[in-house]
């Protein structure tokens, strides 16, 4: 990482946020001129030395590019004519207003996660504009071609402009719903990093940590929102298991087989503290808070046997009510198996199969195979595990399933 890359990583959200406000809410122009400033820095910093105030340098360079653009557009758009004329005085145009910068970053988050965008576009635009990741980095993280991400980001910015999405923190009436949208984007980024669905590596930790970083920023800028703390708690408690989740050869190690001494204790401590914050609001935990409470149940148990499975079943039931999903039902079945045995759990899983609630998912046959195996129905168990292995997209997890199926013959 060069010092320019380090500055960009720390400041990109604030630079793009300030420029978006400055350009009257034109995210596309703001991002373009910010990228032009970075390109200019790539040439001039090594040649002339790094400026004393790198952020100021980037902002001013971007601002000059924006003014050029206002002038070019002034002939056909009054709005830009006004912006161009305002800026002939050589002032800084209130570009860097310390009292507004936090709101600019928040507004940027809300715009990047706006419901007019497709879920994939929200993820790409958030990582690009708020996280400051390059198109190449995002493409590498999601294992898709650079051109795909490029097109996704460009299209997203054009959609924001076409839908005339205002550059603002949503008014109170829409806040809860829109915040839910932001949290779900951060969670998608996190889960892609913590349970890589494709490829031959189980974890893409950089991506997971990126989501944690953005969630911490959100919590600091928008205090008093329990679900933001719920999400942070869930992420911290999940990352705590990273050191124990893969073997030396990169293969997956299941929760029950993990060496719990290898769990990251400081991440657990931070996760429990965030969960306490979410609980302290006294409004009852939301979907992220409930998942965090489940993760906390594991994080504080010395072993699988000593886990309070009854409580985990209750938490899954609560989660199923506030955020119904077949995956939650499947996880509840796993917890039921631990609390009351494989028999009652299989009834729940068979219900999911009968309703075809998880078509094409390797998780359902994988859990079903496990339960059948514990019930001694070996042949059926092996068939289910083999089916799961065929459906699984992650090479490391597939290897575990193949091994389990083979062990049954």
């Amino acid at each position: 990482m060069t010092s320019l890359e380090a500055v960009w990583r720390i400041e990109s959200a604030r630079i793009v946020g300030a420029l978006t406000r400055y350009t009257g809410g034109d995210l596309e122009l703001a991002e373009d001129v910010a990228q032009e400033a970075v390109a200019e820095a790539l040439v001039s910093w090594p040649r002339d030395g790094e400026p004393a105030n790198p952020v100021g340098w980037l902002l001013n360079t971007a601002r000059r590019r924006a003014i050029d653009s206002f002038r070019r557009r002034a002939a056909r758009d009054e709005r830009y004519a006004l912006l161009a004329s305002e800026d002939t005085d050589g002032g800084d145009g209130h570009l860097w207003d310390p009292d507004r910068i936090d709101d600019d970053v928040l507004a940027l988050m809300f715009v990047a996660c706006h419901p007019v965008l497709s879920p994939e576009a929200r993820v790409a635009l958030t990582l690009r504009t708020v996280g400051g990741l390059s198109t190449e980095e995002i493409a590498r993280a999601f294992l898709v071609p650079v051109a795909t991400i490029q097109a996704r980001v460009t299209r997203a910015k054009k959609t924001i402009a076409a839908a005339r999405v205002p550059f603002e923190v949503p008014p109170q009436a829409d806040r809860k719903e829109r915040l839910g949208g932001v949290l779900s984007v951060l969670y998608v980024i996190f889960t892609e990093g913590s349970t890589a669905t494709t490829g031959d590596s189980l974890l893409r930790t950089d991506l997971a940590y990126e989501a944690v970083r953005l969630a911490r920023t959100l919590a600091a800028l928008l205090p008093g929102e329990p679900e933001v703390f719920g999400l942070i708690a869930l992420c911290e408690l999940t990352t705590a298991r990273f050191p124990a989740r893969t073997g030396p050869d990169g293969s997956a190690i299941l929760l029950e087989d993990q060496d719990r001494r290898r769990w990251d204790r400081s991440a657990i401590r931070r996760g429990l503290a965030a969960l306490a914050q979410a609980t302290a609001a006294g409004r009852g935990l939301g979907p992220y808070g409930l998942q965090a409470a489940i993760a906390a149940g594991h994080a504080t148990a010395a072993s699988v046997a000593e886990t309070d499975w009854e409580r985990i079943v209750l938490l899954y039931e609560a989660l199923g009510r506030v955020a119904p999903s077949p995956i939650v039902e499947l996880n509840r079945a796993v917890a039921v198996a631990m609390a009351s045995g494989p028999g009652p759990a299989l009834l729940l899983v068979d219900e999911l199969v009968a309703q075809d609630r998880l078509p094409g998912s390797y998780l359902l046959p994988s859990v079903r195979g496990e339960l059948l195996s514990r019930l001694g129905r070996t042949a059926e168990a092996r068939a289910e595990l083999e089916l799961a292995a065929r459906l699984c997209g992650n090479a490391r997890e597939r290897a575990v399933l193949v091994r389990k199926a083979a062990a049954l013959s």
Binding site: M1, R213, R265
Partner: protein
Amino acid sequence: MAKYMLIMRNSDESLAKMMDASFDDMLETVGRFNDELIKAGVLVAAEGLEDAAQSVVVDHTGDTPVVTDGPYGETKELFGGFYILDVASKEEAVEWAKRIPAFPGSKTEIRRVPGIDEFPQDNEWIKKERAWREQTGQL
């Protein structure tokens, strides 16, 4: 992600400037910087040390340790406090270090903090340390 310690080292010059500065201003400036670290999601821990005049030095030069009062005489740079940051690279740690509200004459050293995972896990002392970290929730 990696943990880096930003070690703040004072000199006579910077300490003299610190003495002249208003305490309220200092709280405000340092508080703002800390807030930036929190908002960026990188702050893990930070501590500042009491005046070095209150310190005691144990010198291991001879066969038996010699204890003296006050800061180590010949040292031009006195350790004054630290930050531990969770960042993506050494360069990012350096970039944050540049922004520390520091008095002229002081220096900040950046050192990576290795995790316990980097030590041999079968060593019994490392196992013991792990158990202690587990019980106390240490970093």
